[in-house]
């Protein structure tokens, strides 16, 4: 595979520069791999998120009015360093405190927690939520649910971003975030593994025309590999696993986010979404809000993840429908 690149050291800064040039509401911090909104009401609680790169447009594409205040990047599939996160907190907190959204990966949580502890010692008021929407299982752990942070994290960005814009306090954001995080579930499949830039081999082996169900976004293996037959059979398995998680009842209210994991074509996305919608309809579920596109990718992986969020609170829907200038929403 050919990866379009120059010197690997400047990969991330090139990407960020291109992003801020294309979207003038975004700026890059002079020294940190941090993208932030240029004009945000200083009375509003800022929201920071971030993680390793390789998941673009996450999280730069979700920085904007009504979503994130800033996004901090680390190297490919590696979280930002605690020292950088700490610096980002100092930079974004204008005195009202700061809210942070972290994806549940051990390494990410460790770096963010270290930074948060240090920042708190310096007097910053910080609350955070850890997204854990992954309902796939970790193989060989007696069916333990993996609980990592996947594309469902973007719903936290949007809903919490809206409430922050509406003037929510840090405590209110925490309350909403903690409840919302338990209502989001994501599971997906891959038709092709991701390959690290210029690596000789992909992150996992998958034969041509084979599907791996329940993969992660860093090459984490799935729970089953099958030969591809049809889009509707893929959709059926995914809907069944989501049903197992939610135990939904006829007419329950849901939001649906179908995420392109990297290099699936738009045509395939549409075919698959159509199947998902029909299967949900058979279950008596008609999502009140639907998003489909690239939100949380895994480099050049081909595959799709499906996120459902059970709407316990009507204001969440209002938050999702509200305008934002974040370019990837």
């Amino acid at each position: 595979m050919t990866f379009i690149i120059n010197d690997k050291r400047y990969m991330l800064s090139s990407y960020i520069h291109a992003g801020t040039a294309t979207y003038p509401h975004l700026s890059k911090h002079p020294t940190l791999p941090l993208v932030y909104q240029q004009q945000q009401d200083s009375k509003q609680i800022p929201i920071l998120s971030g993680g390793g790169s390789g998941h673009e447009p996450a999280h730069i594409g979700f920085v904007g009015q009504g979503m994130l205040t800033g996004a901090i990047f680390g190297p490919i599939f590696t979280p930002p360093h605690a020292a950088d996160i700490l610096e980002a907190i100092r930079f974004l907190d204008k005195g009202n405190g700061i809210f942070i959204i972290i994806k549940n990966f051990e390494a990410d949580v460790k770096q963010f927690r270290t930074a948060i502890e240090q920042a708190r010692k310096e007097g910053h008021h910080i609350k955070y939520v850890i997204s854990h929407d992954d309902i796939s299982i970790e193989p060989n752990t007696h069916f333990q649910i993996r609980g990592k942070g996947l594309a469902g994290t973007i719903l936290l960005h949007k809903i919490l971003g809206y409430f922050a814009q509406q003037g929510a306090t840090l405590d209110e954001l925490e309350t909403i975030g903690l409840e919302l995080a338990t209502r989001i579930a994501t599971i997906g499949f891959a038709t092709k593994s991701a390959t690290l830039p210029n690596a000789a081999l992909p992150l996992f082996e998958l034969e041509n025309h084979a599907i791996s169900y329940g993969i992660g976004i860093h090459g984490e293996e799935g729970y089953r590999t099958v030969a591809f037959q049809s889009s509707e059979l893929l959709a059926n398995e995914i809907v069944n696993k989501l049903k197992l998680h939610f135990h939904w009842r006829n007419k329950d209210d849901f939001v649906l986010l179908v995420n392109n994991l990297g290099t699936t074509t738009d045509l395939e996305m549409g075919i698959f979404l159509h199947d998902i919608l029909q299967l949900l309809d058979i279950e008596g579920i008609n999502p009140l809000f639907i998003k489909s596109g690239k939100y949380m990718t895994s480099l050049d992986m081909s595959g799709i993840s499906v996120t459902l969020c059970q709407l316990d609170d009507n204001r969440w829907l209002e938050a999702l429908q509200a305008k934002t200038d974040a370019f990837a929403w």
């Binding site: 299982i137 007696h142 069916f143 329940g214 729970y223 089953r224 049809s230 509707e232 059979l233 059926n236 398995e237 069944n240 696993k241 197992l244 135990h247 199947d275 029909q278 299967l279 058979i282």
Partner: protein
């Protein structure tokens, strides 16, 4: 091409009709009208309503059991099965009562055997001779199949899953795994 989504749409309307009508009184016309699909489509997927009910049973068991074997524990699988039968009680009450027409029971016992094998594999530490293992599998598969049928028929409470697992795993000191 046969479509699982179309089959499921037809199945949904058939299951809904079975909640108020008996199997004998339901026609293909009724089923397809309720599904808002033209009648001919039925015959592209099924020969008759007997084949439809067979398909529902087989597909439901595949989705509930086979497709979950590598995804949830034996205990959770048992729980999900009870919840599933509870949710579709009307349908299965009629299905289990239809004898002679189809070979449901032996088919169902085969699926219960898969569940028993999984539970033994996950929860039993006891050595069983091959002969005893075969007997043990059969014994518990039949027992489980009948427990499910009684559960559907009499709307009893869900049995204590730990007890069922301990019985199947032959380990009465088993804790909550």
């Amino acid at each position: 091409m046969s479509s699982i989504i179309t089959k499921k749409k037809i199945s949904r309307s058939f299951k809904a009709l079975l909640e108020t009508e008996s199997f004998d009184k339901i026609s293909i016309v009724d089923i397809m009208e309720k599904a808002s699909i033209r009648r001919q489509t039925f015959y592209n997927h099924f020969l008759d309503k007997y084949q439809l009910i067979d398909w529902i049973f087989q597909n439901d068991l595949k989705e509930q059991i086979t497709d979950n074997l590598d995804f949830i524990s034996g205990k959770q699988l048992l729980k999900e099965l009870f919840l599933y039968f509870e949710h579709h009680r009307y349908f299965y009450r009629q299905l289990f009562e239809m004898k002679g027409q189809n070979n449901f029971t032996s088919y169902f016992v085969e699926y219960c055997q898969i569940v028993v094998i999984k539970i033994i594999k996950e929860y039993s530490q006891r050595y069983m001779t091959p002969d005893f293992y075969t007997f043990h599998l059969n014994y518990h598969a039949h027992a489980l199949a009948d427990i499910f049928k009684l559960y559907v028929k009499h709307a009893t409470d869900m049995p204590n899953l730990d007890f069922l697992i301990a019985e199947i795993a032959q380990d009465i000191t088993l804790g909550d795994k």
